[in-house]
């Protein structure tokens, strides 16, 4: 997973914002998710241009913490968000 770019979102996914955090709804699958701050930031980077390690690096710099300290949180977020993304090309 880590070498492939993540995203972009499926065209059927809508986002709404609440106090800076995002909620997602996919009208094709009926799936909804209310994201916390980290997951919202991860989602904003899942545009099909970034791979996992790049997402971790960008957020580590933004949060001013070591990449290893957020790697697990990002991985959990990506796992949750995968169902809202276009699957990567093989």
């Amino acid at each position: 997973m880590h070498a492939k770019t993540l995203g972009p979102p499926r065209s059927t996914v809508r986002t709404l914002e609440l106090d800076g955090n995002l909620s997602l709804y996919d009208s094709a699958t009926g799936q909804a998710a209310v994201l916390n701050g980290t997951a919202s930031d991860v989602w904003r980077l899942l545009d099909g241009a970034h791979d996992f390690d790049t997402v971790v690096a960008i957020l580590a710099e933004a949060y001013s913490i070591a990449a290893d300290r957020i790697r697990e949180d990002v991985e959990q977020a990506v796992t949750t968000l995968t169902e809202f993304l276009i699957p990567p090309q093989q």
């Binding site: 609440l18 955090n21 909620s23 009926g30």
Partner: protein, 258 residues
């Protein structure tokens, strides 16, 4: 005895023995709203007790009238929430002077007990079961079914507990009144056993609770997603550690007094 009940803009017809019918009439407030028929339920005396029948081949024999009444009320609840043309969320709802608090929660978490405590503390009754909203504008439509309290709940509230069955109460039994007039949802309160007091919670938690506790979001999922967010944008979201029902109710009264 034939009875028609109109609840949350849906209509249930009942065919029940006269004694049950009089009890049913005493438990629900006068209904002013009209709606299309959604279900017919019947209770008939039987040599072994009472026989209940209804939609989807529902057919049940119960031993006595209190059990028949309890089962009938449960079936009415299922029927109206399945058919209501409103967005329905599993929640207790109380109010004061047109300002409402919703308590989204699943069964068995103390919703009805807390609602009853709120009514005894002076709030008005909207529902102990469902927050019902118009899909278009989110306006609250009360669902004032009778409160059914377990013996444990009665003891917690200091109400005489039945030896068996649940205690069915109207708002008058609790010294309260039904909410009337337009209601504005001002607070969404999430029951949280880990919280030691009432504290502010992220709005996202409120949206997740409204969507997650909805009975019928699947009817208009896109609109349900929007409506849940519209509600929490215009309301405050809280976590409440329950403590005793009376202390929790006092905190909710405080929210509406602020």
């Amino acid at each position: 005895m034939k009875i028609s009940l109109t609840l949350v803009r849906t209509h249930v017809s009942l065919d029940v023995p006269e004694s049950l019918g009089k009890r049913i009439r005493s438990l629900y407030p006068d209904q002013l709203l009209e709606g299309p028929p959604c279900a017919h339920l019947a209770v008939h005396p039987h040599s072994d007790g009472f026989r209940l029948s209804g939609p989807e081949e529902f057919d049940e024999l119960v031993p006595d009238e209190p059990t028949a009444l309890s089962q009938l009320l449960a079936r009415i609840n299922i029927a109206v929430l399945a058919a209501t043309p409103l967005f329905a969320v599993h929640a207790g709802v109380v109010a004061a002077a047109g300002r409402a608090i919703a308590l989204p929660a699943v069964s068995g978490t103390g919703k009805s007990t807390l609602v009853a405590a709120c009514l005894r503390a002076g709030l008005t009754y909207v529902s102990d079961e469902a927050l019902c909203l118009q899909w278009t504008d989110g306006a609250i439509v009360p669902y004032p079914r009778p409160l059914a309290l377990s013996a444990d709940s009665c003891r917690l509230l200091g109400i005489p507990a039945p030896s068996s069955h649940e205690q069915l109460l109207t708002v008058a039994d609790l010294g309260a009144e039904y909410a009337t007039g337009a209601l504005r949802l001002e607070h969404i309160v999430l029951l949280d056993h880990t919280a030691d007091q009432l504290r502010s919670a992220p709005r996202g938690q409120g949206a997740a609770a409204v969507l997650g506790r909805s009975f019928n979001h699947w009817r208009r999922p896109d609109r349900a997603f929007e409506l849940a967010h519209e509600l929490v944008r215009s309301a405050s979201v809280w976590n409440l550690g329950r403590g005793t029902p009376a202390t929790a109710a006092a905190q909710l009264v405080g929210l509406l007094s602020a």
